[in-house]
């Protein structure tokens, strides 16, 4: 064993992950990602103030909207018997949206603390850190989604697509979280500053509220808003996930949602890879 490999590389791990010795875990990409995912998840979970609002606020909004808008089901053509069944998708979408900040802020912390630069001096690949931060964000979003499904069962939400549909819902939820996480990571790698991420969050929030999250497109009265929901990719993600809850297996809606997810996650991944290459070239 060389003296270099015998020496643990002390990493401050500002997110609470402890010391990582890249030599001790082997250099396969899988091992690197595994260690860094653990660090990312531990870091995120060590700060409940960071993730609890992302779990609690959607539930609050759901509870209030389900009661406040309960009369909406009387509108002719409304696609669900209870507003709660229609609206529960907001929790999955907000959990996915939250992945933008979990992945992005985790990376920004690693950039600001110099962790990413120091990683370049080790056998670890910088890409592993990015993958790990994104995976950590997906893990948290998925955990929240499981919680929302349990709450759905507890409140008698009728998942029309059955057990397989619930698995598909979790899959779409994870994929949506992945799409948003890549965007968060992309911005983090490009800017290296948390202010940029905070700046993008209102836009992502807007994309959710300017979608079909509150009303199906056919029942939107305002032409200008119907147009916005039509060009907003988030509408298709929402409709896809929601169809699994209130409709069952709707091939067209699901295909549209998957197509949008492919495009958004593809753009996010490419942007992320390019931003990482540029950042490591500068390091």
């Amino acid at each position: 064993m060389s003296s270099a490999s015998a020496t643990a590389v002390p990493e401050p791990a500002p997110t609470g992950g402890g010391v990582i010795n890249p030599h001790a875990v082997g250099t396969s990409l899988f091992n690197q990602v595994r260690v860094l995912v653990r660090r990312s998840v531990r870091g995120a979970l060590s700060s409940p103030a960071g993730y609890m609002p992302g779990i609690v606020m959607p539930l609050l909004l759901l509870t209030i909207n389900a009661s406040g808008l309960s009369k909406t089901v009387d509108i002719p053509g409304f696609p669900a018997d209870r507003f709660l069944d229609f609206a529960i998708v907001i929790t999955f979408m907000q959990a996915a949206l939250f992945a933008t900040s979990s992945a992005g802020l985790g990376l920004v912390r690693d950039i600001e603390s110099g962790f990413l630069d120091r990683l370049a001096l080790t056998p670890m690949r910088a890409g592993a850190l990015v993958v790990a931060q994104i995976s950590g964000a997906i893990f948290i979003a998925l955990g929240a989604s499981v919680l929302y499904i349990i709450i759905g069962f507890a409140t008698q939400v009728d998942f029309h697509s059955g057990p397989l549909g619930i698995l598909a819902l979790l899959g779409m939820s994870a994929w949506t979280a992945f799409s948003f996480a890549t965007i968060g990571a992309w911005i983090a790698l490009r800017s290296g500053a948390s202010e940029s991420l905070q700046g993008i969050f209102p836009l992502l929030f807007a994309s959710l509220f300017l979608s079909t999250i509150n009303m199906p497109r056919e029942l939107i009265q305002a032409d200008w808003f119907r147009f916005i929901t039509g060009i907003n990719p988030v509408s298709y993600m929402v409709d896809g996930m929601r169809s699994l809850i209130i409709t069952g297996w709707d091939g067209r809606v699901l295909a549209e949602a998957i197509a949008v997810l492919v495009v958004v996650s593809g753009i996010g991944t490419l942007g992320c890879a390019r931003a990482l290459r540029l950042r490591m070239a500068k390091a």
């Binding site: 209030i64 807007a206 939107i220």
Partner: protein, 258 residues
């Protein structure tokens, strides 16, 4: 009253306003979030105005506009709460405590700046609402009264947020400030009239002071003022309770040495 109170409050208010306008990261969220909520609700939920028993004289855009106006004013206090916490974190609040003889001036300064900011933001929300079909049926006097009621919510929001952040002095505890305020405004008749709310939400909304301010503001916009006295009582009650909350928060910060 201490004769330094007003000049000190004015200076603090000016600094706060300057920081808000000069730092886009501070300015943008206060500007964007109310517009997102308004656009999202007014655009999507127009058909809710068609449900049986929904008898508001103006259109649904006007109905939601009043909610957005109150939210803009109330949530303006949240941004101020984060400023207070930031001031404690970077040490400015400690220097402020040393420099200001009467610490009530600090609270008053934040209230003044949030009020001015809420007035500007209300204008922006009104402009956006006008673009998408806001119906104004009230007389000029009724509209002025509507804005005055709304702006009192900026004071309520600031008093609440200041009370939390003078105690917590840490922006990480922001949710402790945000969630109750979020609950207070959403546990009012946001989407439909109080009579159309059912179950637990109806029961809670009846005892929520924000409900009465919201109802009266809507009635003023529609030109049919209702329960103005009840709304005034609700505002006065909130002022009394939250002023005590905020001032004891200032005392708590003083005891901790800023």
């Amino acid at each position: 009253m201490n004769h330094h109170l007003i000049p000190a409050a004015r200076a603090i208010a000016w600094r706060h306003l300057y920081k808000w306008i000069s730092v886009p990261a501070n300015f943008m969220p206060t500007f964007i979030f109310p517009l997102i909520f308004f656009t999202g609700f007014a655009g999507a939920l127009g058909r809710v105005g068609d449900v049986a028993g929904f008898d508001y004289p103006a259109n649904y855009t006007s109905w939601i506009f009043v909610f957005s106006l109150l939210q803009t004013c109330l949530f303006g206090g949240l941004a101020t709460g984060f400023t207070i916490a930031g001031d404690f974190q970077n040490g400015f609040a400690r220097r402020l405590m040393l420099a200001v003889e009467d610490r009530r001036a600090i609270l008053l300064g934040y209230i003044l700046s949030t009020f001015a900011r809420a007035a500007l933001m209300s204008g922006i929300v009104t402009g956006a609402a006008a673009l998408v079909g806001l119906e104004v049926l009230g007389s000029p006097g009724e509209i002025v009264a509507m804005y005055l009621f709304a702006l009192t919510m900026s004071i309520v929001g600031t008093l609440w947020a200041a009370g939390v952040m003078f105690r917590a002095r840490d922006p990480q505890l922001g949710p402790a400030m945000q969630i109750p305020m979020f609950i207070a405004i959403f546990l009012a008749p946001v989407y439909v009239p109080l009579d159309l709310l059912t179950g637990w939400l109806h029961a809670v909304a009846r005892f929520n002071p924000v409900t009465y301010v919201m109802q009266t503001d809507r009635s003023l916009l529609a030109g049919r003022p209702e329960d103005v006295g009840v709304a005034v009582l609700a505002v006065v009650g909130l002022f009394v309770v939250l002023t005590a909350w905020a001032l004891t928060g200032v005392r708590s910060a003083e005891r901790s040495g800023g």
